[in-house]
């Protein structure tokens, strides 16, 4: 969208120049997601002009697209009447999302401003955690009762369609509000007006409990190619729907979260872009693991220190030390990524642990053997060209055998650690991604040192 980028640039210019007329002309051409992008990039004073010029009503849509960290300060830019107008303008789920992002005080104050019509549903939606199906759902959807005919159904949908988010699926409920089935809009359009809904209702195939994790909902969308997923309570009463765009958002969020965890970030994923996130925020998310891992890495140093005599007797051991250690880290990282992603995509049921272990054992032996042979050949044929300090009592062949054995042991161990640690974490109800790459690398660094020196010591008799 190069055009949109150009309009965005002009809008930022109009904001800087305080040109309200030009601002309105440009803002009309932009999607609210683009307007939110622009707003994020502005300074404090420019944001004042932006909110004032756009107005509370139009800003309601932009609000829903802003990162969590900007919500509170942005809502404070509006006076009470404007806040009331904005709250009225927002869809139920956007309003609840916003209320979940502000402080308790602000939330109480804002709740007093919500229109009487909306207050009950707002309060009941606030009960559900943001990351559950109930927290994600919208309550504006097409719903008809099973006793109606096509004409009655169309009339009832028409009366409310202005505020209905999706009519892709129209849900049929009984007199107690329990989910009975669904219709596609075309079923209404292509049948005569006196057809009873009962005759054309389709069975529903999937629904989810309001208290279920949002990730479960997203997995159902992806597996069954859903467009809408109905959300019910424990009595099968239809509470709302999750739409395809929510699913997309959940999947992007969860992937980002997993990647960041795997790279050793703590805390929540920043909703702001990389560049807009403050350095201090980045710092706070990176430092804890970095520090923890550094402390753990001292263990490797202690191992190295304690094998001083071995290293002193045969300093050429240091040529392959970093390689053996790193190969373990890389293998462990590969194995853990595979397993964590398979779990995230719902591919690994509990109870498959033995099969995973066997697979990684085979793979580790295979990878270790081939790499071991490769490095042994390098030791025997290449190293002697550059290095002439090898003691005759040992010789390059024996040395090569030691390197190969160390590699096989280290890589097999690392495959197992990398694949089983995330599975163990899940069993212990810890997010598997947290124990991933850096933690595993640090662990197999230590084991790698121990393996390397012990094998060298015993095979080479040091």
């Amino acid at each position: 969208m190069p055009e949109d980028n150009e309009i965005k640039r002009l809008l930022l210019e109009a904001t800087e120049n305080r040109n309200a007329e030009e601002f309105h002309r440009l803002a009309e051409q932009l999607h609210y997601a683009d307007l939110a992008d622009c707003y994020e990039d502005l300074s404090e004073e420019d944001r004042d002009f932006f909110t004032e010029t756009l107005g509370a009503e139009a800003f309601a849509d932009v609000m829903a697209e802003l990162p969590e960290s900007l919500i509170e300060e942005t809502i404070e830019r509006f006076d009470q009447d404007e806040q009331r107008e904005m709250l009225d303008q927002m869809s139920d789920d956007d309003r609840v999302d916003m209320l979940q992002d502000v402080s308790d005080d602000t939330r109480r104050r804002l709740l007093d401003l919500v229109e009487p019509d909306d207050i009950e549903i707002t309060k009941s939606l606030l009960k559900y955690d943001e990351d559950t199906a109930g927290g994600r759902m919208t309550t504006h959807f097409g719903r008809v009762r099973v006793g109606m005919n096509v004409k009655q159904a169309l009339d009832s949908l028409r009366a409310k369609h202005e505020e209905t988010e999706s009519l892709a699926r129209i849900y049929v409920v009984d007199s107690k509000g329990r989910l009975v089935g669904l219709l596609r809009f075309r079923d209404l359009a292509f049948n005569t007006w006196d057809t009873p809904i009962e005759d054309i209702v389709r069975p529903y195939e999937h629904c989810i409990l309001a208290t279920a994790d949002q990730e479960e909902a997203a997995q159902m969308f992806s597996k069954y190619d859903l467009i809408v997923l109905p959300v019910v309570d424990e009595y099968d009463r239809l509470l709302g729907i999750i739409t395809h765009d929510d699913a997309l958002e959940i999947i992007e969020e969860e992937s980002t979260e997993d990647m960041e965890r795997m790279a050793g970030f703590s805390g929540d994923v920043s909703e702001e872009t990389y560049l807009n996130t403050r350095t201090l925020t980045h710092f706070k998310r990176r430092f804890p693991w970095l520090f923890g891992l550094a402390i753990m890495a001292i263990a490797s140093g202690i191992v190295m220190l304690s094998f001083e005599s071995v290293l002193n007797k045969l300093f050429i051991l240091s040529l392959f030390l970093p390689m053996v250690v790193a190969a373990g880290g890389n293998t462990g990282g590969q194995a853990s990524t595979m397993v964590i992603r398979a779990m995230a995509l719902g591919e690994l049921e509990p109870g498959t642990t033995m099969r995973v272990a066997l697979k990684e054992l085979r793979l580790g032996l295979l990878l270790g053997s081939l790499l071991g042979i490769g490095m042994a050949l390098i030791t025997v044929f290449v190293v002697p060209m550059f290095y002439d300090g090898m003691p005759e009592s040992i010789g390059f062949t024996k040395f090569a055998i030691a390197i190969a054995f160390a590699l096989i042991t280290q890589i097999t161990t690392s495959s197992l650690v990398g694949s089983l640690l995330p599975i163990g974490a899940r069993a212990a109800k810890i997010d598997p991604a947290v124990v991933a790459a850096p933690a595993i690398t640090t662990i197999v660094d230590v084991t790698g040192m121990v393996i390397y020196f012990l094998i060298a010591k015993s095979i080479l008799g040091l």
Copy 2:
């Protein structure tokens, strides 16, 4: 879906027992995605029973859900008439996907079996690469001409609705097939029959060129909360639509691909589950980087070897060597993950390189300083309790200063390398994820060794 899992288990049992009646009863209750799951888990002979019992027509939907690697062998289980029936049964885009997954010979043979009605569209869709917008689109969508009225539009949609994949948006084209705008189904349902389409057509906000990358399409879905994205050629002629479920699939695929690349996998993402992928396939995807990185890691060994005299003079240096090296790897991994994810989500425009570099420079200095201070304190207050070999001419304080400086330098360098290397890769048209974590770790391992020994040498006068 515990119920579904139970039905799947029973279906596998019925297959093993060759109980066709039970098989039919159970298969009817399962979604075709679940049937595909079952099929994947079967042995060769069991698969024969499965395909034979389910029949070609019903298997067409299952086929579309199978991983690429199983397509060819599965289609061969059917005779020519069955293949013809299956091809006829499939939607255009599923058929084309399948044809793109088989060998050239098989494709030519299968194309001869495609019904005359479908052959033109099939051949024209085959032109587009699988990972472009054109390769992803379906051609079965609601399309009406701008000159129609509501009744004519409804009649024309009704005539074709059996095979239409989505009527969430109905596209309006002119006499030359160029995209003019769109309708929602409710616009047709809630207006009188004589309303001209021209009066109610809504402007379309987004479309994509058929030759554009699928990732661009997915980003548009996520940014603009789209349900459908129209695909056009360079003359604005409407060719097809991409639907929300394609977008979800693209985003999952691309995230998996990025995670795997970042962990040092080569080749294409396996479409089969982790456990169903053969060990040899895993091996082939893991070994190349593992080997390449091992060769690179020898560079670290060479550095260590060349600083033998420094290490011999002050062996306590080895206590912090692994830590300084690993801290660089962890910082580089964090920085690269941030930057790669930001690029994948379309957050980092080219031209922001300097801002990224400055941000990471600040972050690196901050992280390095704090970690440096922490480790210096440990060196001065904790290490002396366990180690009494420190030469008086050096002392713990001077030693601590050297460690701190080495850490600051190593972490700052690694932040920069980790963030700028992926940006450089993108500029050089290489997938940024490929140069990520393991490669960066291996690079900063080497720089870390050099930094550590050089700083120790100069500060401590070794």
